[in-house]
Amino acid sequence: MHGGGVEVEGLRKVFGKKTALEEVSFTVEPGAVVGLLGPNGAGKTTAVNCLSTLLPLDGGRASVAGHDVTRDPAGVRASLALTGQFAAVDDVLTGRQNLVLFGRLLKLDRPAAAARAEELLTAFGLGAAADQPVKSYSGGMRRRLDLAASLVVKRPVVVLDEPTTGLDPAGRQEMWDVVAGLREEGVTLLLTTQYLEEADRLADRIVLIDHGRVVAEGTPGELKKRVGGQVCEVVAEPREQVLRTLRERLEGVEESGGTVTVRGADSDTLAEVVAALREAGIEADDIRLRRPTLDEVFFALTGHRSGQRRGEEREEVGS
């Protein structure tokens, strides 16, 4: 057997007046990969922290590999490897020193810790930079070292909090490969993400959370079906006329963020849109099909827009 999964039932977590999690329940079968999908502030990190015994629960129960997080936290820690939201490695130490330290802390003797560090550095493509201080690493390298650090000693359950946020496309791809590798080994994986695409790529099941509550759950296919296919985006003026024209012939036409979108679209929709616009004598600047964004999934599933949109918020400089 694969050593166990994760069970969360009626989980509740309160910070002062703010309820971060309410009635959160989900299961990760042994060997499965579950994606916890939600926007900023949804409660992903809080859930992960409760599971890895960093935060006490305020209600409900949770267990990892059969160990209850409240009654047997030591058992949980011995079964779970956590990679937190922000790469937690020591900058002034080298990649190798970081890994050896974790090995030694987890009771590998010196040669075993060194051997394991070497193994992981090679497996994660960090061999060349192994003896460089981590501060010279790229974001992607840091993140891989961070993940490697939590795999120094094998655990049946691995928890990854936003493993690819802030990485460039290349770094993201590398991380996805690593996760795919873990999955092939039969490790039970719980990963959080803000990207539907990522959950789609990596997870067997997706748990969608918003404002601390589970709003939907299912396989990526099921969720997408509930959203209904792709989105057709039309950039054309005058806006009012475009809306009117399309609404006469199609369902799910909306205006959002300066463009007109048609939900539940496919290639037939595209042809229909082109035809409709031509008949009305409107020349479109752009018409394209794309996957629904997390925002649109949310809208489709909850009827309201998620609080924040995905994407990095830049700190304002100056005053």
């Binding site: 160990h67 030591a74 779970l80 937190g84 020591d90 009771k107 497996a123 994660f124």
Partner: protein, 271 residues
């Protein structure tokens, strides 16, 4: 990529593997080593060597004559005060380190590992004790050049060092409680650098209690920093030591108890 396949399987260690003194000290020592490797040598030299020397000589130059007119041998009187000042500085360093570990996520990571629950604290205390010892050595050596002497024998001198380190650790417990609720080491450190001044200066550190205005003298005489300074001076100069030392130890035990509760609370919540 077969990331976690390896020759070193260590899956699902027994739950009890966190407990025990061997784990506490073994893992604590590993983390102490990490803490020491993390501090830059240049920084340690300037804060724990250069500045204490400047302060000893600076204060002597500034106030030596003034205090002589008051009948105080300042070369003998001052070094314990500078020692106490630097023990505060060690404690502020501990708060800085905890806040930094919180910000970087290292603290959360350590807490999520199957290691002894107290290892992080032991690691911090061990590294801080080492810094404290370095500062004490530097200050006592500098004081020696200026005329400071241990006059009550080697055992009392050892007691001096032990009491100073104990003071550093007790104060560290309090500052750490603050460091552990913050993620901003710079602010914590800047705040503490202002906060420690009143208890240090309004004590018998730099002038004897009787040189204070009468209204505040009782406070000066009975506050814990004065108790520790009195004990340190007794251990350095000889004379009756049991009374002052006992008073200091009681104070430290009380402070440690209160601070530890706060620190443990903060530690349990630190993510």
């Amino acid at each position: 990529m077969t990331a976690s396949t390896g020759t070193v399987p260590a899956t699902g260690a027994a739950p009890s593997s966190e407990a025990g003194l061997a784990n506490l000290f073994g893992q604590g020592l590993l983390l102490a080593g990490r803490n020491i490797r993390l501090t830059s040598a240049a920084d340690t030299v300037s804060t724990m060597v250069v500045f204490p020397v400047i302060f000893v000589f600076g204060f002597l130059a500034l106030f030596g004559n003034l205090l002589r007119t008051h009948g105080v041998d300042y070369a003998q009187f001052l070094p314990p005060a500078i020692v106490v000042q630097w023990m505060f500085s060690v404690a502020i360093g501990a708060a800085f380190a905890f806040a930094a570990d919180r910000r970087s996520g290292m603290l959360a990571r350590y807490r999520s590992l199957a290691i002894s629950r107290g290892a992080v604290v032991v690691g911090r205390m061990a590294a801080d004790s080492l810094r404290a010892l370095l500062a004490i050595a530097v200050i006592v050596a500098t004081g020696y050049v200026a005329g400071f002497r241990f006059q009550a024998g080697p055992l009392a001198a050892l007691g001096f060092v032990a009491l100073a380190v104990a003071f550093a650790l007790a104060v560290s417990a309090g500052t750490s409680a603050l460091g552990l609720v913050s993620r901003d080491p710079e602010t914590v450190s800047a705040t503490l650098h202002v906060l420690y001044l009143p208890p240090l200066m309004v004590s018998s550190a730099f002038v004897p209690a009787d040189a204070f205005p009468a209204w505040i003298e009782p406070f000066v005489r009975h506050q814990p920093v004065t108790a520790v300074l009195d004990a340190l001076r007794a251990l350095a100069e000889g004379g009756p030591t049991a009374g002052p030392v006992l008073k200091a130890v009681v104070w430290l035990a009380g402070l440690l108890a209160v601070f530890s509760i706060a620190a443990v609370q903060a530690f349990r919540r630190a993510t």
